[in-house]
Every structure is written in C-alpha cells, then in structure tokens.
Symmetry: C2
Subunit: 346 residues, 2 copies
C-alpha cells in the first residue's frame, strides 16, 4: 500500500474526500504570466513545435512548481493537437490565438485516422513520462484533452469567437457533424488513455465552448459525445478520475454532471458554488472557481475573493482553481499570494 | 374601455394571459437581413445619424411590419445612444460593431449630465411619436434601452468582445464604477420614461452582457442597478410592462427574474424553457427563445425548432421571439415561414 504521504491531496479530493485546505492547481498554471515561460517559449519556432518538444513541454510544466506549492502538474499541450494530428492545418497567431483551415466551406471533410494520429502524438506521451519522472510523488499529474464539441467548433470555424457558424453547421450538415464527433470521441479517448498510460493520475476534459447551445444541441453535441468519451475511456481500461469542465453550460450544467459519467465537475467563474452543488450528484467533487481577473487585480479584492471561494465550496469535496484559465496579465506575485491564502486556510 | 380588438396580444401576454397562438416579435426585426433596410441605411452617413433621423428610424420600424404580421414594433435605435448623449465618443465600424473612446486608461471619467443627454435624445422620442401614429392599434410599440452594466462595459472597453477588462475595472475602481452605474440608471430611466411618454406601450431592457459574472459581481453590477432602474421608472410614473433580457445570466437568471421588479423575462437561446419557468416567479410571462441560426438554416430544422419552442413554453404566458437578435444572414423567406408557423399554431 502507498505511503499516505505519497497520495496527492488532489487524488484524495477526486476520490470524494473533503480535504482541508483543499488541493489547488491553476488552469494554465504553466504559461505566459511567467517570465521564465516567455523566455522558454522563444526557444521553439512555433507553439505547436513547443508542444511537441518533450524537453520544452516538460520544462514548462516544472516552472510553476518551482515557484508555488501547487498540488498538481498538468501536461503542457493544447486541445488542438488532435485536429493537427488528424491532418488539419493548425497554427497559432501570436497574441490572437489558434487558426485552422476551416471545415466550413469545404465540400467534403477528409481526415486522417485515429491510429496515425496517436502515433503522431507520441511526443506528448514522452513529455508525460518525463514529467512523471521529475515531480514529487505527492504532486498529481493531470492529462487533458478538449471536449469533442469544443475541438469540433475550432475545426469548423478555424478560430475562436462566436460559435454561430459551427451551430448552423450542426443544423445543416447533421450526419457529417455526427461523424466528426465520433472521430473526435475515438481519437480523444485513445489520446487520453495514452496520457494515462504515460503517467497521468487523472484527466480533465476542457469543454470550453459549452455555452450558447439550445438544449437539443447540448444533448447532441455535448452530452452524448462526452458520455461516449467517458465510456470509451473506461472500456480502454482507464480508471483514472475524469474532471469535466463544461464552461458556460449554465442551466445545462447539472445534466452534464449527472449524465456523462465524469468523476468531478469543473465550475466556471459565473456559476455559484451552491448552484453547482445542488445540480451535481451528491458528494461529487467540485473544482473552481475564482475569477481570473482577481489574479490580475491582486490586493485586498483577491484575498476576499479567495476566502469567499474557500467558504462557499466548503460543504463538500473541493479542488481550488480559477473559473477559467489564468490570463497573461496576471502576476506571479498574485499567484503566490493566492496559493498562500489557500494553503493557510485549514 | 378599449375595443378588445385594439388591445395588442403582446400586452395581453405581458399582463399574464396565456394567448394562443402567442404574440410574436423578433429582436432586430428591423435590420440588415432586409434588403429594403440596407437600401434605407445608405441614406444616412453614419449609423448614429440614422438612429437620430426620425424619418429614417420610423421607416426602418415599418419595413418588417409590411412584410410580416408581427404583433409588435420596436423603436429603431441603439443602446449606445446613451453614452453618445452623455458626451462619450461613439462610432460604428461597418461589419464590426460599435467603437467608443474607452474609459479604461482614462484617469478621470467625465460625463455630461442626464438633463442634457435627454435633450440630445429628443429625435428618438420624435421617432417614437411618428411610429405610434403609423402603426395599427393592435400592434404594440416597444421602447428599449441597454442594461446599465451592458452599456457600462461598452463605455469601459470601447468595444464588444470578452469582458475581462470591464470586470477587472469593477474590482479595481469600485467607487467610480458605482458612480457610472448610478448615472446610467438615472439617464436610462429618464430615456425610457420619455419613450413611454412618446408612445411606447412596453419596454425591454437589453442586458446583453449578463454573462461571465461571479455572483458577487452579478449582484453589484446587474441586480442592484436593474432593480434601481425599475424602481426609478415606477417613481417617474411609468406603469408600462418591462421585459428584462439578461442574456447569458445562466444560474443567476432566477434572481434577476425575482429581484429586479421586471414584468416579463427574456430567455436566451441556451436556457431551457423549463428552467426559466421554474426559476421565474409563478405566471411571469416568458419571451423567447428560438436559436437565431435556425432562421439562417431554414427548412425542416427551422419548422421543428419553432414547433419545439411553442411546445415547451406552452405551460404559461409566452411571447414568441428568438433567443438573441436575428443575424444579417437570415433570410426574409425564413422569417416569413417562421411567423406563419407561429400564427398557424393555435
């Protein structure tokens, strides 16, 4: 049996235990708000090259752990490595975000197969192995992927922004959309399973674009594919806890929590803890949900905000996190203060 | 007593009556999806000039009524006439949207006063009077304004897009934000009261940016100013029904419906009717919420979508509408089909 000291508090919380103080990690904890990350990023030509370099990706993951006593490390990668591995052209415009050759406008959608995509993604699994070898046993290692619909919207529209075009395509080309989602479910399941095999203790599904969908589309584009993904992961022998993060799901959040098979629910900035607790199955671990802008603002409002989050999630298993990714204009000093407050709150 | 024929079905629904078929109007029903609007728009140099021309604004309002048997007309104007009238520089970039000289970055915020703003807005009230004189008695006339926070975010950021900067400013400059919201509450109340005096039967408050706010900010930036606006309107003698449309409010929607004093609740595209009904006070009229993309898609999915909306809102007073504004790429033919289905659904 493992030494209890070696079991990450994150995994205990994911197992349904109320841990005090709660485990903490931060979405995008490795990233542009850290000067050492910006320096490191300059060593690769493109962002995708960076993601596919096991050495650089590993170093990026370790950087925030050197600064802050976080309870988890998360793989450094991007949700769009999947379309890239499936043969769609993907690139990143500095300061603007990802761009893809949009499927909308193409008469036929042609993709590579899952097997080859997983081979292409082997540097990701190599990074995961390296990270596992370099972090303490009590730091949990998180793998991740995008939710099928979120990845599909990027593939369809070629960029972020409003999702009108993707939604319209779901109405106009239903069988092609269903086929795309099936491909993404299978490829994502294999990708996540490979991450777990390479050392991930748990995984997060980022459904960053769960917002704006009428119920019928939420069922078809989010609930069904996510349930299929979770069940495929279990069929592949993955027993690791799965955190689902349906950002912007609003009134649909409860159904996501109850019907997809996820282990824990990521709560976005705008959703009150009480609502999430009431909508989720009893004792489901909840993760979140400090406003990332408080980590930019700092000072007393940050401190009040952190204490408020600790307080409102206190009535069940909780993993402290932001309600969305940390922004590049946040400061390491504010992150340091935030972690100190959480750790001192027992 | 008014001839019952002359009482708009919209006003009956706003009075809590379940009308079958439900009254229908469409957010942005006068606008770019109509070729005759695009022609008319060319007659003014700028979009604001267009809004401030009683003749052009009136004609724009009448255009959709000539095509479709809609139950309401809505003033043609913009929520940003208020910052314009308060002295902030406002302009519109064709195909992109509004731009303002952003308050963020300015050390001191200086505005004109409410009295002068209302004088400056007199062409709007003149348009309202003209419209009233030219529409049938059984067509309700709707006035409108933006919610204080939605207008404030434009004023702060100078444009649409994510609201991170506005939210951060709410943390960092709280007393200035509160002063700005107070000014907007008073000016908006006077603006709406003047519209009602000029002939509006009811009004809608567009809180288009109710999304993304943690509960504490939702209380401070949306609930409190909206409640103040409604109560100021009542103090000014306005008895007209008030439709509140808190787009993206998600889990906060119930509190908006229950705590602001609004008469009816506009339901956005993603919120299920059952959730809205359960969260709103008993028998509150609900308005919405067809996906605007269905009016682009057309055909069978449009028909199914319309019938679904009619069906799920059937258990209480309902006003048929979209869940967000109609988009420029919708077609008049699809609007025609939509109205026909609604009208034939009794």
């Amino acid at each position: 049996m493992a030494d209890p000291k070696d079991v990450s508090v994150l995994l205990r919380a994911l197992n349904g235990e109320r841990v005090d103080p709660p485990p903490i990690w931060i979405m995008r904890q490795a990233g542009r708000y850290l000067p050492e990350y910006r320096e490191l990023r300059g060593r690769a030509k493109s962002f995708l090259d960076f993601c596919y370099s096991p050495a650089l990706a590993t170093e990026a993951v370790l950087q925030p752990l050197r600064r802050f006593p976080l309870d988890a490390a998360i793989l450094f990668s991007d949700i769009l490595v999947i379309p890239d591995a499936l043969g769609q052209k993907v690139w990143f415009v500095e300061g603007e975000g990802p761009r893809l050759e949009p499927l909308i406008g193409q008469e036929r959608w042609v993709f590579g197969d899952t097997e080859k995509a997983i081979q292409r993604l082997s540097p990701v699994y190599e990074a995961m192995q390296r990270i596992r070898g370099q972090i303490a046993k009590d730091v949990a290692l998180i793998g991740f992927a995008g939710g099928p619909w979120t990845v599909a919207t990027y593939m369809l529209q070629g960029r972020g922004g409003d999702k009108d075009d993707a939604r319209r395509t779901a109405y106009l080309r239903p069988s092609e959309i269903d086929a795309l989602l099936s491909l993404l479910v299978e490829t994502t399941a294999r990708h996540v399973a490979a991450q777990v095999k390479a050392g991930a203790d748990c995984v997060q599904i980022f459904e960053s674009w769960a917002e704006g969908l009428p119920l019928a589309l939420f069922e078809r584009l989010i609930l069904k594919p996510t349930a299929a993904l979770v069940s495929r992961l279990r069929a592949l022998g993955v027993t690791a806890p799965i955190i689902g993060f349906p950002r912007g799901a609003g009134a649909h959040m409860g159904r996501y929590a109850r019907e997809t098979g996820i282990t824990a629910l990521g709560v976005d900035t705008q959703t009150p803890a009480a609502f999430a607790r009431e909508q989720a199955p009893a004792n489901m671990p909840l993760q979140g949900n400090l406003d990332p802008q408080l980590v930019v603002a700092g000072g007393e409002v940050l401190e009040q905000g952190v204490r408020h989050v600790l307080d409102v999630f206190r009535n069940g298993p909780h993993i402290f996190n932001l309600g969305h990714g940390i922004t590049p204009d946040a400061t390491p000093e504010n992150v340091s203060a935030l972690v100190r407050i959480v750790k001192g709150a027992a």
